[in-house]
Amino acid sequence: MTTLAATGVLRASWLLLAFPVFGAAVLLIGGRRTDKWGHLLGVTMSLASFVYGMIAYFTLLGYPAAERSRDLHMFSWVPVAGFQANIGILIDPLSMCFVLLITGVGSLILIYSVGYMAHDVERRRFFGYLNLFIAAMLLLVVADNYLALYAGWEGVGLASYLLIGFWQFKPAPPVAAKKAFIANRVGDVGLSIAIMLMFAEFGSFNFGPVFASAHSGGTGVTTALGLLLLLGACGKSAQVPLQSWLLDAMEGPTPVSALIHAATMVTAGVYLIVRSSPIFNDSPAAQLAVTVVGAVTLLVGAIIGCAKDDIKKALAGSTMSQIGYMMLAAGLGPAGYVFAIAHLLAHGFFKAGLFLGAGSVMHGMDDEVNMRRYGALRKFLPYTFVTFGLGYLAIIGIPPFSGFFTKDGIIDAAWEKGGTSGWILAACAIIGAGITAFYMTRVMLMTYFGAKRWDEPGPRGGAEPRTGQPQPQPHEHALHPHESPWVMVFPMIILAIGSVGAGAFLIINGRLQSFLAPVVGVPPEAHGVWTGPGIIALALALAGVGLAWTMYGRVPVPAIAPRGSIFARAARQDLYGDAFNESVLMRPGQWLTRLSVYFDSRGIDGLVNTIAAIIGGSSGRLRRIQTGFARSYALSMLIGAVLLVAGLLVVRL
């Protein structure tokens, strides 16, 4: 597909970035003066981007399908002979999907944050960071070359870091922020090496030239590029083996978890792989690696999600798992790209809705996150219950909710890959669907059904002061769960509508497929809505629901977690992901640094210091010769003169 120059309305597509950049700049530079209206400006800028995104989307729809890739050159970043780094905006169907997701869901979550962060003295800074995030994420998806994409990639990493650690006065969030930043850095190294390799091999960063010459580069180059891009995607999308940061990232405020760590940023890895489809299409080995990472992560995330009592961490495990589905689909090549994006968009709706629901529950429960302290909340938070419930039905894939269409598309695509690998991948995806149903039902039952457990005695976790001042822990006063204000409920309702309808809208009649076809190609064979693997997955999901009901619905849930089986304990420990990182990476690293420090202080510094000490000591002794007595100087002069004369005489004779 050829890329044409942007014309008409699309010539103003820099506005997409300009609105949130302006918002972030005003809020972060303006400081406290903007406290009163800062949140309104943040929401307005995000909405403005969304409105422009809608205009651009309909403009794009007005073009013939083959002309929907529009490039706007903005400026030359590094204009050096032999190294041309340009900043340009690429508006095509794929980037448009993301623009609408980011600005749409982003605006809803910003509106929600107005209510959620209402009592936080730093609300203005929060909105500044969120605008910064939206700007960086938009740059990531609309960049027309890998260098600008990398700038956006780093920008979202920064925004994620700032927002995870937003409540700096508590001990856990800054640590979680650092962990997320460092884990992301590992992936970023992969992406940056991939970009360097691209430049070395193809002489360009731009998508067009790189993809045009990808095929001629040879399988070795494309495989290396694919694996390096996969490493980058693993870091950003919290895929095994760089998955450990996402669960800790839940220390951030809940809107952040919903926007950055569920709906948008963590899906950037999927975007990267789908965007780089010409590279992956050329390298079966890299594609296989992507599918393996996806399959492993979808199971790991789902298993972790089963054991977490913290509602946000259970949802975080679920996010990992769902992104695993997307990666799996993205690794299947043209057969899966459409379903990866479809699941990504649907996931953006239902997972953001679930997180906002969790935030609403926490809002009504004094920031309690432990589900064992919930129970019977459906009477107290009716809107939250309904919207959360619709998201729940969507994620476990009950027809006709959106997850059913998108997830079954992925399972079918894996099934149709054929061969042993296709079987294994499809089996993983189907089992994952069952586990998804189990843990989501568990979350539902523990939160909204059963007996109320919040007034039972016992330790209460997660009570967090949000006013910036240390508050007395609310152990004493009784909890009065209450529904959230309308400004929070409204976005949840919109997202719930998306959870219900997005999948059907995108999949039925191949809407998304024909929209994306110019960018990612067409699946080799179309399959209907009801397929064998899909029905098996649905049956397994229903079985998971039933199992969860027998374990958490029929019998009362203990308010204090039982010790659990060895599997439950492993899952509670994130399947020992942190322990693995600590023993394999952190400890040897510490030993290495200690060894280096020892060598440095004793070896290098020792040598230098010894030489300096010798010179210093000897000059200190030599100094004593300068006594200050003129006569002794005269004597030494005389002795010198006599020696000189004697020497001359000896030489002459």
Partner: protein, 99 residues
């Protein structure tokens, strides 16, 4: 009298001057000893000029006299300043400039 006698005299005078510089503490005396050494040098120069039959040594002797006069002017001025400040002309007392 052969010129060699002048050389011996010059050596004796120079030695007396050198010993005086080394053993005496009074700056005035040291000064006088330095003058003695300079004049011993002059004597040697003139004697050598006579021995070799040219004027080079005599010319150098004049130079030495000029330098000696200049040295005495500066040196005595410094000495006066030191004496006024410390009420002592002993060179061993003025030993502040050291390590």
């Amino acid at each position: 009298m052969s010129p060699a006698h002048y050389i011996f005299l010059s050596v004796i005078l120079f030695t007396i001057g050198a010993i005086g510089v080394l053993v005496r503490r009074n700056a005035i005396v040291i000064f006088m000893c330095i003058e003695l050494m300079l004049n011993a040098c002059n004597l040697a120069f003139v004697a050598f000029a006579r021995m070799h039959g040219n004027l080079d040594g005599q010319v150098v002797a004049f130079f030495v006299m000029v330098v000696a006069a200049a040295e005495v002017v500066v040196g005595l001025a410094i000495l006066m300043a030191i004496y006024r400040a410390r009420r002592s002309a002993s060179v061993d007392d003025a030993s502040l400039l050291k390590y």
